[in-house]
C-alpha cells in the first residue's frame, strides 16, 4: 500500500470538553489512484487532509507514505489549498520554482522544471505575470504546477475548485483528469461536491459527520470520463447513492444537535 491511514483518531479539546473530529479512520490507497473524500462540513475532511500533509498530528493512529510514517510537512506531498496561496510578490515562474528553491535545487534546473510544469498547466505565456493579474482558475493551475514541480509522491487537494464558477470548475475537472493520466500521480482530494468526486475519482470515501467516520467506500467505474457522462444513468446512480448517504447522515447530525 502506498498511502496508509491506520486507526487514525483526532480529538480537539474545547472549553466544552473533548471534541472527537475523526474516529477510527482507515484507508489504503494504491499508487496512481485518484481518491476523493466527500462529506458535509463538520465531517472532519479538512482535518484528515491536514494529518496527511503533516500540518497537524493525530491524537492516535498513524499515516504512512511509501512505508514511512509522517511526522511533519515535507515536499514528498504536494498540496493545493482552497484559498489561493500564491506568493503575491513573486511572478508565476518564481512561484512555481519556489519549492525547488527552498530545497536548494540549482537555478537552471529549477527554471527548466518550472517551465515544464507551467507548460503542463498551460500557463507558459503568463510566466512573468504577478498573481494579481490572474483569474481564480489560473491561480489554482499555478498552485498545481508549483505542487507538481517538487515531484511529490502524492498530490493533496483541499476543495481546490470550491471558489471557482461552474464553467471554470468544469474545465478544471477535465484538466485534472488529463493531468492525472499524463503524470500518473497519486491524488487525494477532499470536496463536498459529490458530482465532482464521482466525475474525477476511482474511489470515494464518504465521511459521516460528528464524529467524522468513513461510512462507505464506493469504487467508481465509469465507461468514460467526459462531460457527457454526467447525463447518463450510471453517473446518476453513483451520485444519488452518495447524496442519499450524506443526506441521511446530515439529518442524523442535525438530530444530535
Amino acid at each position: 500500500m502506498f498511502l496508509q491511514i491506520h486507526n487514525l483518531n483526532k480529538h480537539f479539546s474545547t472549553s466544552e470538553g473533548t471534541l472527537v473530529v475523526l474516529k477510527d479512520i482507515n484507508m489504503d490507497i494504491e499508487q496512481g489512484e485518484f481518491v476523493c473524500a466527500v462529506g458535509a462540513s463538520g465531517s472532519g475532511k479538512s482535518t484528515l487532509l491536514r494529518q496527511i500533509a503533516g500540518l497537524d498530528s493525530p491524537t492516535s493512529g498513524e499515516v504512512k507514505i511509501d512505508g514511512k510514517r509522517i511526522t511533519g510537512p515535507g515536499p514528498d506531498r504536494g498540496m493545493v489549498f482552497q484559498h489561493y496561496t500564491l506568493y503575491p510578490w513573486m511572478t508565476v515562474q518564481q512561484n512555481t520554482e519556489f519549492g525547488l528553491k527552498l530545497q536548494g535545487v540549482p537555478k537552471s534546473v529549477r527554471r527548466e522544471q518550472a517551465s515544464y510544469y507551467l507548460n503542463v498547466v498551460g500557463l507558459t505565456n503568463f510566466a512573468q505575470a504577478l498573481p494579481k493579474a490572474l483569474s481564480g482558475g489560473m491561480k489554482q493551475r499555478v498552485a498545481i504546477a508549483r505542487a507538481l514541480a517538487s515531484e511529490p509522491k502524492v498530490l493533496l487537494m483541499d476543495e481546490p475548485f470550491g471558489a471557482l464558477d461552474i464553467h471554470t470548475k468544469e474545465s478544471m475537472h477535465e484538466f485534472m483528469l488529463d493531468l492525472w493520466q499524463r503524470t500518473g500521480i497519486t491524488i487525494f482530494m477532499i470536496t463536498h461536491d459529490v458530482e465532482e468526486a464521482v466525475f474525477l475519482s476511482n474511489r470515494i470515501f464518504a465521511l459521516g459527520a460528528r464524529p467524522g467516520t468513513i461510512r462507505k467506500v464506493v469504487n467508481v467505474n465509469l465507461p468514460h470520463r467526459t462531460h457527457t457522462i454526467k447525463r447518463q444513468t450510471v453517473f446518476h446512480d453513483y451520485r444519488d447513492e452518495l447524496m442519499d448517504l450524506l443526506r441521511q447522515h446530515g439529518q442524523e447530525a442535525l438530530a444530535v444537535v
Binding site: 506531498r77 519549492g99 527552498l102 508549483r146
Partner: protein, 282 residues
C-alpha cells in the same frame, strides 16, 4: 405549532432612491480635475485667508505677521545661514534617533509577530512603555546622559522604538496562515519561511509603520531641543518666542511642516517602487 406570520412591514418603508453625486461619492474615485482642484484649494485657501486677514485688518504683526513678513524673515535667516544650521541639526538628531530605533524595532517586531513565545515575553512590557510619554523621560535622560546630543537622540529612540515594534508585530499577524503552511509543505524550514515568505510579505507594512513613526520622531526632535540646545529648529522657535519674533516662529513652523511632508512623500514613493505587488489599483 408554527408561529403565525408576522404583520407586514410595508407601511414602515418609505420609497427612496439614491441620487447621483460627484462630490459626495463614498469610497469611490472622483474626477481627476476635481481632485486636483480640491488639493490646490487645500493649500491656497488658508494662505489666501492669512493674507486677507493680515492685509485688511489691523492685527498687530507681533501677533500675526503677514506672509510677506514671514518670507522676509525666511530670507534673513537663510542669508545668515542660521536656518540651514538649525535644519541640519534637527535632521541629524531625527536621522540618528529614528534610524537606531527602526534598526532595533523592526527585527524585534518581526520576531514578536512570528513567535508567540517572544510576543508573550515582550508585549506586556512594550505595551506599558508605549503609554509612557517620551517627553516625560526628559529629566531621567538628563540625569543619565547629560545635556549633549545623547539625551536628545535617546528621547527620539524611546518615542519611536516601542510604537514601531508593536506596529511591525501587527503587520506580521496579517500574514495568511495558508501561505506559511504551503511553504512548509513545499519543504521550507522555519528560517526560510521567516526570511523568504514572512519578511517580503510584511515589507509594505514595515515601510508604512516607519512612515507614521517618523512623524512622531519629527515631533519629538522639537521637544528634545528644549534640553539645552544651541541650534535646531525647535530651539529657533523657542528663542524667537522669547524675543517676540513671531515671523521667525512662522518660518520655523513652515520649514518643519515642509520637511515632514517631504519625508512622508519619500516613504510613499518607496512603498510604490519596492512593493508593486501590494499596490491598490489606482
Amino acid at each position: 405549532m408554527s408561529p403565525s406570520a408576522p404583520r407586514s412591514i410595508q407601511p414602515y418603508i418609505k420609497p427612496k432612491t439614491m441620487r447621483p453625486t460627484v462630490f459626495w461619492r463614498l469610497a469611490e474615485d472622483i474626477p481627476k480635475s476635481l481632485q486636483t482642484g480640491l488639493m490646490i484649494t487645500s493649500i491656497v485657501l488658508p494662505l489666501l485667508l492669512w493674507w486677507t486677514v493680515t492685509t485688511f485688518s489691523s492685527i498687530d504683526p507681533k501677533f500675526l505677521p503677514s506672509p510677506a513678513m514671514v518670507m522676509e524673515a525666511f530670507g534673513r535667516l537663510w542669508g545668515t545661514r542660521e536656518l540651514l544650521k538649525d535644519t541640519v541639526a534637527s535632521l541629524w538628531r531625527v536621522g540618528v534617533g529614528f534610524s537606531l530605533a527602526a534598526l532595533c524595532s523592526i527585527p524585534i517586531g518581526i520576531l514578536m509577530g512570528s513567535f508567540p513565545s517572544i510576543r508573550a515575553l515582550l508585549e506586556p512590557i512594550f505595551g506599558l512603555m508605549r503609554y509612557m510619554p517620551a517627553p516625560a523621560f526628559i529629566p531621567l535622560l538628563i540625569l543619565y546622559l547629560g545635556i549633549g546630543e545623547e539625551p536628545k537622540i535617546a528621547l527620539i529612540f524611546i518615542g519611536v522604538f516601542f510604537f514601531n515594534a508593536l506596529m511591525v508585530m501587527d503587520t506580521v499577524k496579517f500574514v495568511p496562515k495558508d501561505l506559511i503552511e504551503s511553504t512548509y509543505i513545499l519543504g521550507g524550514t522555519r528560517w526560510q519561511t521567516l526570511t523568504q515568505v514572512i519578511l517580503p510579505h510584511v515589507l509594505p507594512g514595515i515601510i508604512d509603520a516607519c512612515r507614521i513613526n517618523l512623524a512622531a520622531a519629527w515631533q519629538l526632535v522639537i521637544v528634545s531641543e528644549l534640553i539645552a540646545a544651541t541650534e535646531g529648529l525647535g530651539r529657533r522657535i523657542s528663542v524667537a518666542g522669547r524675543f517676540l519674533r513671531t515671523d521667525e516662529i512662522f518660518v520655523g513652523l513652515i520649514v518643519i511642516g515642509l520637511i515632514g511632508l517631504a519625508f512622508d512623500l519619500f516613504f510613499q514613493y518607496l512603498l510604490r517602487i519596492s512593493c508593486q505587488w501590494a499596490n491598490q489599483k489606482r
